[in-house]
Structure formats: structure tokens, C-alpha cells
Symmetry: C2
Subunit: 307 residues, 2 copies
């Protein structure tokens, strides 16, 4: 650690790609979603609703607009929200981003257009530029979403540099879900002040010393309070144990299909088996491995937190 420059501590944050609950007919269970998001906020987490682990790309644009409005109407704090807004088609991305800004959301987590590949840097720059120009608001804070294993369209450091130069007040951060620590490290070192969020709480010990903004993590759905607490403990003697604990829990989930596994555990916590529904192409947690996961979590004395 001797050669790592410690950044000034910043106001770090955990954002949760909040799971989306469905009824048996696979329509969205809006009340359960609001209840869940309220619980996440009560645990000290921000809401990256409509992230990958929200099954965002299995939700219609109209459903996302309705859910975002419902959260704000229910009194949840828009300044703790960073909804995923990146869709395939520019007009739809603009529509969702515009609504997020109007509602006062803290940020807009924006996938690149993810069907056509390979995409050129010019094409991706034009895509983001058109969103930003179309919204034309100081209230827009764009967080780029780098998740090449799903999009096939990476967000390169060259693209970030170009966007930062053109829109320094608007393009403010990135979520790096690549799972490639070398890439996260490069983003952290090349763009000081830029808010870099690794996609796992297991990376906090490596990312925080380099100035990471916190994390946006699938497993924050089940341990939001513990992650928020670990962020507060950073720099203290207790951080190491907190980090180790976060990792043990995360490792258990990573051995299974993530979304069904998370929904299985949330279903148990809230005593609502309907939480286990997923939209295809996902399939619900299977009895055998799901029971095994529950047992492993029990052995760790894992609890999601007060409901």
C-alpha cells in the first residue's frame, strides 16, 4: 500500500440496483417495489433503480416511467436516486432521462446503445452528446455504465476523456461493472475527481484508497446497511473486518444466478414468496440450490437488516 496515494476522503455512497418485484402474471408489483426501496433508503443506501439486477432491460419504458414517478410520489428522496436510463434507442433514452431530471434525481446511470456492435468512439460520443444536448439542463448528471459482458459496447477511457472535455459539469461518473480491476484502477487514476463506482463491495478495500465514490452492487440489495456501515468505517481499524464480512456474503451469491438468488433471499426476508418471480429470460431460483444458499447464509448468521 506504500505506493498508493491516499485520496482525500470523500462522501462515499452505496447505490443499490434495486430488484423489481413481479406478480404471478409477471406484471410489476408496484407497492412491493416502493416498500423495498423505502427499506433500502432506511438502511443508508441510494437507489440505482433500473440497473442490470433490477431486470431493467426486461421492463417496458412505460413501466420505468411509472415506477420512478411512484417512488417520488411515495415520498422517497429523489436526490438519493440514480435510475438506469440507457435504452437501445436514443429517443427512449432521452425520454427516460428527461423524466429523471424533472423529478430531481441525483444522477442518470446511462448504458451505451447496446445492440449494434462494434460501436465507434465517434458514434458513442454522438449518442451521449445528443442526450445531453436534448435535455439541456444543469440538473442532468450522467454516470456512464461500463458493463461490456452484457452490452458488447465498452466505455473506453478515451471516450470518457472526450466526454469530460466536452461536458465537464454533466458527465460526472462511471459505474465499472467489467469485473476487471485493472480497468477500474485505470479509471480511478486517470480521472481524479470523477466519481468511479466499482460494481462490488468486495472491491472497496482496493478502490477507496484510490478515491472511489463508493459502490453500486447487486448484493447491496441484501446487505445495504452493512455496506453503508463499512463505508463509514473506512480509515478505522474496524474496516478490515467489515470488508471481510461483506465479501463472505457476496461470495455466496456469486456462486448462483445472481438475480434469482437475490430475489429468493429477499422473498424470505419479507415473507413474500411472490418476490421470487422473474421475467424470462431468467428462471426463478431452483429449490435445491436456493435452499443451499439459505443454509449457507444462516451459517454465516446473515440477516438483511430490520424490515
Amino acid at each position: 500500500m506504500a505506493f498508493i496515494t491516499m485520496q482525500t476522503p470523500r462522501n462515499t455512497k452505496v447505490f443499490v440496483p434495486a430488484l423489481t418485484p413481479f406478480h404471478a402474471d409477471l406484471s410489476v408489483n408496484k407497492p412491493a417495489f416502493i416498500t423495498f426501496c423505502r427499506w433500502l433508503v432506511s438502511q443508508g443506501a441510494g437507489l440505482a433503480v433500473f440497473g442490470t439486477n433490477s431486470e431493467a432491460n426486461s421492463l417496458a419504458l412505460s413501466e420505468k416511467l411509472e415506477l420512478l414517478e411512484a417512488l417520488v410520489e411515495a415520498g422517497l428522496p429523489a436526490d438519493a436516486m440514480m435510475p438506469g436510463v440507457g435504452l437501445c434507442a436514443l429517443p427512449e433514452t432521452i425520454a427516460l432521462t428527461r423524466r429523471a431530471v424533472e423529478l430531481g434525481c441525483a444522477g442518470a446511470l446511462t448504458l451505451p446503445p447496446f445492440f449494434f456492435k462494434p460501436a465507434t468512439e465517434d458514434g458513442l460520443f454522438a449518442y451521449y452528446a445528443q442526450i445531453i444536448e436534448a435535455i439541456g439542463s444543469d440538473g442532468l448528471k450522467v454516470y456512464l455504465y461500463h458493463i461490456p459482458q452484457f452490452t458488447g459496447v465498452p466505455i473506453s477511457c478515451a471516450l470518457i476523456e472526450r466526454l469530460l472535455k466536452a461536458y465537464p459539469q454533466t458527465v460526472v461518473g462511471v459505474k465499472d461493472s467489467s469485473g476487471d480491476w485493472g480497468n477500474t484502477e485505470r479509471m480511478l487514476r486517470e480521472f481524479p475527481g470523477f466519481e468511479v463506482f466499482p460494481a462490488s463491495e468486495a472491491l472497496l478495500e482496493k478502490a477507496l484508497p484510490l478515491g472511489a465514490a463508493g459502490c453500486i452492487s447487486a448484493t447491496a440489495n441484501v446487505q445495504p446497511g452493512a455496506i453503508a456501515q463499512a463505508l463509514q468505517l473506512w480509515g478505522s481499524a474496524q474496516f478490515e473486518a467489515a470488508q471481510a464480512r461483506l465479501k463472505s456474503v457476496r461470495n455466496l451469491f456469486q456462486a448462483h444466478p445472481m438475480i434469482p438468488a437475490l430475489k429468493h433471499v429477499v422473498a424470505s426476508h419479507f415473507g413474500d414468496s411472490g418476490w421470487r418471480h422473474v421475467r424470462p429470460p431468467f428462471t426463478a431460483a431452483d429449490g435445491a440450490w436456493a435452499d443451499g444458499l439459505s443454509q449457507q447464509l444462516a451459517q454465516l448468521d446473515f440477516r438483511m437488516g430490520q424490515a
Copy 2:
């Protein structure tokens, strides 16, 4: 050729993933789209509107619904239409498919859900099954769309077999855009009677003897009449020359970004430079290579056909 069993000649067809024209502000140019589709039909082609080369995944659902309705209102024959209907989210795919069936479209070209990967065979089967059950109409004819280089989600022969067993009257064909002839050949041999469309007119000489249904090809945007004619010439002495000619033209386009190249040539043909607009992540045809392409086509004495 001696070991290839010649299938009974069938009513083969060329479908065009019709390009989508945009105004300078990148809104859809509906009149130009209708004019173009009318021209394609006049050349003897069917309309696979909202295909990959239509920039379908850069179009909003609302734009697709509006364009499809506009085509039918303009008197274009719905029984010559096989719109691309496969979006990421099941409810949106169902909405577009339902409208296509209501309008009397001959088929629905259906991508798998293309964000989450890898997808399981169970999950993909459930996805297609839910579309089919939700529509619940004999009028629905599903054509599966295999284009793994863009989706990351292949349509396997095992999945086809399972869908054919469950929905033999509804799942009627596949477009194979993999570019892997071995895969196309396997689909043709394993599923006799199933309508297999290779994604290039260059493959007709190999695919027609095995019973292919025709082709659905990007370059059918610029040589629809020539492809339709080649299909009619199949089995005659003139087919070989027609096939060679189709290949020479296609090869020229394959050396460039396909959509910008096609739009460049269509713009010249219709004398409307607005045709060159593309939505990001694409970038419009660049002067240097576009001029070179025009010259090469002129050297081939290429003409799109009577406008």
C-alpha cells in the same frame, strides 16, 4: 452437388430489412419510408421492416407502431410484411407483435431478449412461449432471429426443436444471420419444411438446394429486384450468372459499414441526400469511402432498379 438431395421447389421469397430514413433532426421521415417500402414491394420483395439494418434497435417502440400502421394505411400489403418485433422487454415485444398480427402481417421476426447473457434454453423457451400464449392467435407466425454477433444470445437447434414441438403451427421459420454456413446447413437439414432464411443472397446457391425459403438480406435494400429474379431463375441455366452478379454487388457493400453504405447508395438513387442520416451509434457514410463505393458500383454498371 451429387450428394445433395434437391428439395421440392418452394415458393421462395426475398425479404428486405428496409432502411429507415431520418430527417436532419433524426426524427423518422415517414413519407420517405413509405415511398421506399412501396418501391421495394414493386421490385418483388417482402418487407422485413425493423430488421437490424433498419436500425430497428435505434427506433422507439412508439415509432415502430406508428410506421407499421402507416405502411398498412398507405395500402402496402400486410401479407408481404415480416416486421422485426423482438425487443428486450417481454411486454414491449408482446405489444409490437400483437399489433403486427392485428394488422395482418405475414410473420413476426423475433429476436431473443438480448441484454442478459448467457440466457438458458429454459429461459428463452419461456420467453417465446409467453409471447405466443399472450397473443393467442392463429394469425401469429413467429420467425426466430439468430444473430448472435449482435445479441450474444444464440437460437440453438435444441431451442428450435423444443419450440416446434410445442407450437408447430406458430413457430414457422428462422433467419440465420450468424454468417456461419455450417449452422444454416444444419438448420436446413434438421428441420425440413421449416422456413430457413439465410441472411445473404450470396448463399442462395448453397441454401436453395437444401430447401431454403429465400433470403432476408441487408443488400436486398439495393438489389431487391435482382434477388427476386434470381429466385425465379433457380433451377435454370441462367441462375449461376445471376448469383455471381448478386455476389459482386454484395461484396462491395460488405467492405464498408453496411447501414451507412446502403443509405449512401439509396440517397443517390432517390436523389435525396437526407437518406444519409443515421442515428447514433452509427455515423453517416464518410466522403472518401462512400465516393469509392459509388465508383465501384458504377464500374459494375449497377442500378438499383426503376424508381
